[in-house]
Amino acid sequence: MPKVRVVKQESVGTGLYKMVFESPIDLKEKGFMPGQFLHLRPSESYDLLLRRPLSLCMADVEHNVLTVVYRAQGEGTKRLARLAAGDVVDVLGPLGHGFAAVSGDRRSLLVGGGIGVPPLVELGRYLKKQGQSVISVLGFQNKSQAILLDEFAQIGDMIVMSDDGTIGERGLVTGALTEDVLMDVDRFYSCGPTPMLKAVQATMKVFCVPGFLSLEERMGCGIGICVGCVHEISQKGELKYVKTCKEGPVFPSEEVVFS
């Protein structure tokens, strides 16, 4: 099994952690996509059996290390949060199909909510490198949950929203998706809780801006062999279940069906 060393772990907010570890693959040689995820075993024993999917937040190709940012909520992520530099962690990935930049785009919008924000960092950096201008709309519960703001500030324009107004504007991310903000935006990329994705999908449809959504489903394997992680997709009028770990987690917004 692919075991790698933890390079660094630090707290980045209440119950929030940033962990840097060696990449299980040679990033330069094998490549990766923003929006892909890593599948981490919470422990060596079999009491917590399944791996935990966490989005690739940042990749440092030169040093071949990866960063994830996550909330320690249940038993598994709490165990991951106890790891320190030098410890060994079992990581599969990067897995899945991530965000693809579309050639010809000049301005992109990133919409992230809560712990769905991390994968948009690597994507934003990539889009910027492609010569695009980027605007990020990020929503958090409150100030103590706000993450990665420095990183987004370096990528381009940024609007922060919070449920209680303790940071940025009070309100939901969709409240910030106004005609002004969407001006000149060619495409959007979004990741966050399902109710937010639903609202973003509906809003962007009204403004006729195409984009991509990164979905979250419970996973058994992360590599396409259990068929546990499916989501309903509509392609050419045909409804079907596709595996979010293999064909996803990122899908064109217009294909995603929320029931």
């Binding site: 059996l49 394997c221 062999i225 259990c226 068929v227 546990g228």
Partner: protein
């Protein structure tokens, strides 16, 4: 006696064919082999059991379909598969590139006639070494499980399948019964060529925050190390009463666990949930099994079968 792990004979004979080792991935836990074949050479496996195949395409259940439980997991996939015709045309031929890999096709349905039609269709495939009758899936609304809980219905099913099958028929038993031995005897009498056990144990988890069942299907099948003691007990009891080979399944994670099942009376084993935790489980388990035998002076793995009963 000290032996090298490379010198341990892991092979066995099943249905007049030589299997290079007793370890095969379990149905539904390996898809049709394609994904894992990107990770290692499937020729290392004793055999492969592919995902349940039904007569027509099944979309499966809504999500969440999986949940973690202490030392195990629940699943309610609902037999999502493209249907037997596409399985024969699009999935099985891929496995031809592995020259020493017997392919066992798991067959499911909701009525005896469906099962019969699937098995008839599979007669046209050159790729099928044996059939595993899934009369024990807990996750489909009608059918599946009732064939696995009533000995008379199971018998009728096995007879109907044996009448049309051109390859050996393994019957996969459900643990969700009061008397597994009478089910096993009924299937053997009806002509089953082997028995595999166990399928998942029906279970449930409540999302206490949302105050409702976590799985969209309400209940699901429990698998993983949590069910191993149940499986070992059932393999022990069944193998003590039937003459046909018994294939042990349930929570196998390591080579030691294979030894446990073989000592309980299993001729071969299937590995399910372990593949999700570690996609390289099967080859690892095979080498751990060889190492265990070497460390304990066992030169032939078949010598372990039923050892706990002597």
């Amino acid at each position: 006696m000290i032996i090298n792990s490379e010198d341990v004979d892991l092979s066995l004979d099943l249905f007049s064919r030589r299997f290079k080792n007793p370890v095969m991935p379990a149905s539904g836990c390996f898809s049709f082999g394609r994904e894992v074949s990107m990770l290692y050479d499937l020729n290392l496996l004793g055999a492969i059991v592919v995902k349940a195949t039904t007569l027509t395409e099944r979309l499966g259940n809504k999500t969440p379909r999986v949940a973690e439980t202490p030392s195990g997991m629940l699943n309610a996939i609902g037999l999502q598969n493209p249907g037997v015709q596409r399985v024969m045309e699009e999935e099985l031929p891929y496995l031809r590139r592995f020259d020493d890999l017997p392919v066992i096709v798991n067959v499911a349905g909701t009525a005896i006639e469906d099962y019969v039609e699937v098995v008839k269709a599979l007669r046209d495939s050159p790729d099928v070494f044996a059939i595993e009758l899934n009369i024990s899936c807990p996750n489909v609304k009608c059918g599946g499980i009732q064939f696995g809980t009533d000995p008379l219905v199971a018998q009728e099913m096995v007879r109907a399948i044996k009448a049309v099958a051109s390859v050996p028929v393994i019957v996969k038993l459900s643990p969700n019964v009061t008397d597994i031995v009478s089910m096993a005897l009924a299937c053997e009498e009806a002509g089953a060529d082997a028995l595999s056990l166990i399928n998942t144990v029906v279970g449930m988890q409540i999302d206490v925050e949302k105050r409702r069942p976590l799985l969209a299907n309400t209940s699901g099948g429990l698998s993983g190390p949590a069910i191993r003691p149940i499986a070992v007990r059932m393999v022990y009891e069944v193998s003590s009463r039937v003459k046909v080979p018994v294939i042990g399944i349930g929570g196998i994670m390591t080579g030691r666990d294979v030894v446990e099942f073989m000592m309980a009376g299993a001729t071969a084993v299937q590995v399910g949930t372990a593949n999700f935790v570690d996609p390289w489980s099967c080859p690892r388990i095979i080498s751990e099994l060889a190492q265990w035998c070497a460390d304990h002076g066992v030169s032939r793995v078949t010598d372990l079968v039923g050892a706990a009963k002597q």
